[in-house]
Amino acid sequence: MKNYNPIIGMEVHVQLKTKSGMFCGCKNDPDEKIPNINTCPVCLGLPGGLPVANKKAIEWTILLGLALGCKINRFSKFDRKHYFYPDLAKGYQISQYDIPFCYEGKIETSYGPIRITRVHLEEDTGKLIHGTVDGKKVSLVDFNRSGTPLVEIVTEPDIFSSAQAKEYTKKLRQIIRYLDIGNCDMEKGGMRLEANISLQKEGEKTLPNYKVELKNINSFRFLEKGIEYEIKRQKDILDKGETPTQETRGYNAEKNITYSQRSKESAADYRYFPDPDLPPIRINDEWMNNIKENLPESIDLIFKKWEKDYQIKKEFSELIFETNKERLWFDELFKLIKSEGLVASALVNLIIHKKLSINLFKDDYKVIIEKFKKLTTIDEIDDKMLIEIIKKVLIANNKAVLDYKSGKTQVINFLAGQVMKEIKKKVDFSIIVKDINKCIQNI
């Protein structure tokens, strides 16, 4: 039995949440229930339909590339990728072949850095629905999704475990949401994961001579489990002295297994060539600068800053905001809180534990700060004055005192409440209870 190291590269597809389609004016709405309603001659692939590129989608792809530390191709183009499938309206997908918008980036994980090979832009396909109509088994096509802008993020084979793959994809989703360019709703297909997995014998330097593509995974957990299964499957084959077949495999969540789908096409089979309908794209300095202006500070930097300035732990920061817009809103709030000598991390604690609810962008900062103060500030009270008030309350509630003495100890909460009413200040509840106890004993 030999030892093997998993070598994993990932391809992740993410739908962009632009208002309209990648190459047409149709509404981009992943929630649309009525089939084939957000369609036009272009995304239906009707004769004569011509694509016109969505500028916003291009800008967002470049923005993502910048956030991942990529270099940007100032000259880029779209290519046609040919294959046959009933949900592919034109018989080809408009994608990017040899000149993606972004290349050579990097993403940090706790296991080490992962190099980003490229980030490119393409169009999504329609969706096949298999069902029964009038007792007949049919396959239907819904073209609503056809032409949705889709970015593909490809990594180098720098991932060495299922846990790292999971961390990488989660972090990628965090960045995309932070940039506010995609919902990454896994269940609706807003983010789709693919892993290229092979095993390398321990001590070997060269990449294995095969790879297995695990495709269309729609949850982080399934990704982790699918990779685990694949590592075991491949190990068994290698242990027998055989080489796993180069192929595309799917993941069956119910059985927790992977299964063979098809053998992998090579680039030549796709007959890529530049789409003559779409003029090449030149990104001049002005355009590039405009895009760069929309690039927020890196999310990792924000986590570090908040930790340093406000002692907010990264795990908590991750829970309270997703988008940069939300982050900026909190930034302002934290600044105000700090300026008033209050503790921002305490506020974050209350928010996370749902003790203080806030409406982002809607609530006035002052109102939030007031609420926060009420919840946390403990008023100073003179000991003598407190004892006097307690005595007064005990006299006025003689029956309760007797109840307490006869063993109904829970009545003390009622008495403490009465004291709180009288002092009209926020005093530590436990002190009041302690003092009431003392007074009753003395009676």
Binding site: P47, G48, F84, K90, G91, A268, R271, F273, D277, L278
Partner: protein
């Protein structure tokens, strides 16, 4: 004179002055269609509501006049087949930009004209609905692929027509049918809503009885279209405004007539006559030698253009036809004709085979294509216009295409270099054979966006060379 025989300009004038009525125009046109369409096989479908539609258009510039539309323009009410059984009975859900613009200008689509299936050809003989015959002499081909539109104009089955050219598909049938055919610069006229053929080459344009009619039509067809990213932002001129400016002082270069493949003596002779005509109109005319290398002041031989065009256009065809996958349009993929199948296979070959290290056949062809672009750019630094015969011969007899897979390329060889470069050109009748009643055309080419200049030259030539 019947009103269907009028030019567009004349018909507009007479309608404006109320000397004729739009009813008369349609009565005459439909009578002519009734009399000749069966024999000539020009229209695949007829708009029966044309007159009714025209009556609502009378106050617009084109006055409701009939336009014959090649069957690859999508028309909302009329079947659109591109002359292929694969699209048999297909009625589009939307209208092409060009027909929409023409309708907004007062034009009415009177019918859809026959063409080579998918515009693959130069004869209109490869239509799945049978060949169109040349109205000048029905034993002969009309040329193609816009043969139906050229024939409709020549036979007066319409006032004007529109077609599309990928390489010669407007100019060559215009030449063979003795009408005017204008291929605008690639990107001057929108391709939206036209069944795509060679997407980097397709240029819609008019086929008309006179040069002036082409200028009027281009006024309404040209312009930026938000639905076609390859259309130009450049402003559209009023091409009729300076139409009569003449060619005095212009420098004109003559291409290709020294080539041995032009076997028909009359072609070279009538081109020489055209040279004299231009000289008499005040232009300076030089012969430009043909070269097999890219050389200054020489025109790059059209022979490579045939190879380049064959590779590039077939690749785009193979890609563009992949949407007709047998699932959505009713017809099976077996309904593709022989020519389409040939082109798909050749296209796939060019996109999946390597000619030399890491270079696809297709990529190599695109590199050679750029040589033609460089060649024309250089020549247009010295010349205002370039002229050549449109076609190396008169119309060929029906049946000439059978067993000749390169038929179209050979007929179009003199216009293919200009199509590959994307520049504009116009074919205007040059000579007529009194025995056969067939025509030759003169191809006047201009630099990018110089439609005004080629129309001016064609108009000046047409006034002197009255052969129709």
């Amino acid at each position: 004179m019947k009103t269907n025989e009028l030019t567009l300009k004349k018909a507009i004038n007479l309608l404006e002055k109320k000397e004729i009525s739009i009813d008369e125009v349609y009565n005459d046109t439909f009578a002519a269609i009734e009399a000749k369409n069966k024999e000539l096989n020009i229209y695949l479908s007829i708009e029966k509501q044309a007159l009714k539609k025209a009556k609502k258009q009378e106050d617009k510039p084109l006055r409701g006049l009939p336009i014959a539309v090649k069957d690859n323009f999508l028309t909302q009410d009329l079947p659109t087949t591109a002359s292929s059984r694969v699209l048999d009975g297909f009625i589009p859900s939307y209208e092409s930009t060009v027909t929409k613009k023409l309708s907004e200008a007062g034009g009415v689509t009177v019918g859809k004209t026959n063409m080579d299936a998918w515009a693959h050809g130069s004869s209109t003989e490869t239509s799945d609905y049978g060949p169109t015959k040349n109205p000048r002499n029905p034993k002969y081909l009309p040329g193609g692929s816009s043969g139906g539109s050229a024939a409709a104009v020549a036979a007066d089955l319409t006032i004007v027509a529109i077609g599309t050219e990928t390489a010669g598909s407007i100019r060559q049938p215009a030449s063979w049918c003795g009408v005017v055919g204008l291929k605008p610069t690639y990107g001057r006229v929108s391709r939206y809503g036209i069944v795509a053929m060679g997407s980097s080459l397709d240029s819609p344009g008019p086929l008309t009885k006179t040069v002036e009619d082409s200028a009027i039509m281009l006024n309404f067809m040209a312009g930026k279209d938000d639905l076609d990213g390859t259309t130009s932002q450049l402003p559209v001129l009023d091409y009729t405004k300076n139409l009569k400016k003449g060619v005095d002082g212009l420098k004109i270069g003559v291409c290709y007539i020294d080539h041995p493949q032009i076997k028909n003596k009359e072609v070279a002779e009538s081109t020489k006559k055209a040279i004299k005509t231009f000289q008499s109109l005040g232009a300076r005319v030089d012969m430009i030698p043909t070269s097999h290398n890219l050389e200054k002041d020489k025109v790059l031989s059209h022979e490579y253009a045939i190879s380049v065009y064959t590779v590039v256009q077939r690749a785009e065809v193979a890609s563009n036809l992949s949407r007709y996958d047998g699932i959505r349009y009713g017809a099976d993929r077996n309904d593709f004709g022989k020519e389409a199948k040939n082109r798909i296979l050749l296209g796939i070959f060019g996109l999946s085979n390597i000619i030399k290290k890491d270079e696809l056949v297709y990529e190599h062809a695109q590199k050679v294509r750029s040589l033609y672009i460089d060649n024309f750019k250089q020549l247009f630094r010295d010349y205002d216009l370039l002229i050549s015969p449109t076609s190396p011969s008169y119309a060929l007899a029906l049946g000439a295409t059978s067993n000749d897979p390169m038929f179209g390329e050979l007929q179009d060889m003199l216009v293919e270099p200009s199509s590959l470069a994307g520049i504009c050109g116009i074919s205007v009748p040059m000579a007529k054979d009194e025995k056969t009643n067939l025509y030759l055309g003169l191809n006047i080419m201009g630099d990018y966006w110089q439609e005004e200049k080629i129309l001016q030259a064609a108009w000046a030539y047409e006034q002197v060379n009255k052969i129709i």
